[in-house]
Amino acid sequence: ACTSNTPEEPEDTSSAPAAAAGANDEPGEPVVIGFSAPAADHGWMGAITKAAQAEADRYEDVELRVAEGTNDVNLQISQVEQFINDGVDAIVLLPYDGAALTEVATRAMEAGIPVVNVDREFSSRFAARTTVLGDNYGMGVSAGTYICEQVGKNPDAVVAEIAGIDSLPLTQDRSQGFSDALSDCGLDVDNRVAADFTVQGGQAAAANLLQAAPKIDALWNHDDDQGVGVMAAISEAGRDEFVMVGGAGSANVMRDIQAGNSVLKATVIYPSTQAADGIRLARLILQEKAMTDLVEVQVPRTVQLYAPVVTAENVEEYLPTAFES
């Protein structure tokens, strides 16, 4: 898959209705869409589900069946099986683990049910009609590049990283991108800890990290939700000697960037509207419509979202569509 950081197709990720293309919004034949995602146990994931639901509610021709929330792949597979049994028209799937859900998604496709894969990628191309991909590697690159700009002149700069759930492939992608970008300016990651996308995890990981690293120049935290805890730990330790970059792009963090009175100087967006996009695309596919801003007469195979860096300069632009953590 393409992991480039350059905007491929500006499929507008903001759910601002203004961006929606006119004719496509006209009611078409009614469709039933099944939706399944991991447990909404942190802000970003909560926002994903809420946005999907909200998007579905906007269309009277869409009936959404939500089998939300599980981090157990066995159960998530069974949810998809139920969708297949029920004969839904399409399935939007944010798998807990892409590889583990590939097979059942393939079965759905074989049963003639188009699957829209969101965020965490399947291991086979045959498993999805369309994939809405966040750019995890790109996220790391963006964060690394920004940090290079800030502290790159100092070859001894200490860079720290607080990752998300270490056992998820997406975390590995992010870290890879991060270290690749850093090495471009001759830096590397000096201290790395992993949390778990939760506030308490971020707090604990950061408290320990700060203890282990008495002086830091730059810090990247993969997820703004766990960032609430990271910030609490930073203020607890009374540290302010470094710049911190966030991840995912929560409204909280953006407000902090805007206020400019904390170590938080930037965050890298990872759109929480991907599933909403997935719903829209599923509807288009079913109603045999295309994306109006493209010449293409079909919805593309892959849509990879852009991972822009939000700083004090452009924060106003992004704040309205940020998710509240």
């Binding site: 447990a39 909404a40 069946r65 939500v66 089998a67 939300e68 929330g69 599980t70 981090n71 157990d72 792949v73 066995n74 159960l75 597979i77 069974s78 949810q79 099986e81 139920q82 049994n85 029920d86 807990y96 683990d97 892409g98 590889a99 583990a100 859900l101 590939t102 097979e103 291991s123 270490d166 056992s167 998820l168 492939p169 975390t171 590995q172």
Partner: protein, 358 residues
Amino acid sequence: MSEQLPPLSTAGSVPPDPDHPAPLQRTGSQPGGPAGRRLSVPGGGLGRDVGLVVALAALCVVGVATAGDRFASVDNVLTILRLAAVYGVLAIGMTFVITGGGIDLSVGSVLGLASVWASTLATQTMAEDTHWLVMVSTALLVGTACGVVNGVLIAYGRVVAFIATLAMLVAARGLAEIIANRRTQVVNVRSFLDVFRGDVLGVPVLVWLFALVALAGWFLLNHTTFGRRTVAVGGNPEAARLAGIKVQRHTTYLYALSGLTAGIAAVMMLARTTAGSSTNGQLYELDAIAMVVVGGTLLAGGKGTIVGTVFGVLIFSTLTNVFVQNDLSTSVQAIAKGAIIVAAVLLQQRLAVRSRSS
């Protein structure tokens, strides 16, 4: 005092009737006796399963009432069974451990480790070449080995089971992450997938496996020396020791068995997800224990029922299915699930008491 007692025998007083025990009978819990501490479960027969049957039937009624044909279809039943299969196999092993007076918190984690180990092997030694038997044996071996470590720590090291298996839970997860190198290991071995993802007589192999394991477990627990010794070791370890049973060795076997079923479950998980991951099986231990206890096996040991466990497993999977059919949000599901676990246990207890005293 008389020097010589008349030849006493109860024969004169109570008509001997081997098939009809005296009307007054002391039940499992003795009259405030030493057993007052332990909840009683009635003798046997169907009585003790009435609650479970009722609970499962009630769930099905709710399912049909709310989702109609969608619920009652063959496909949906198979979906429920496929979901049940992995948990079910774990729960069978757990039934033995709990009946033997122990507990195994590590099964989910060991499942994860075994799945990763087997699939790494599969992916590393160049895909197509690996025979599926190699993968399967790896998973079973890894599972059993973890079980043996648990067993030895508990039986010979005398570490409380809760703690020993909790430590294994933590450690196995860590090892799995290292082996997986934090990647999901996709299984490419066709022969493996062909064997385990297939159907036999229209029923998925996974479901057959669960049925086989359950049947074997039932036979083992109820009709073999091993099973009877398990009850003895769990019910009264000192009596078991004095009767010549090697309690420590048997305890080790029990945990090894639980490890083995975790290995089998890992194979099934691999087949179901076509991928090994260190997060496989997370928190399954709690579900498995809940299923076993809801099924009527005594957490204190000394009394176990495979039939009950199978019911427990089915109740949980059906519950989840009904939730999804009804589009309940996870949060509400969670609350409902909590309430239903308690209700099932209460129901089972009450009905068991009634069927006993009737």
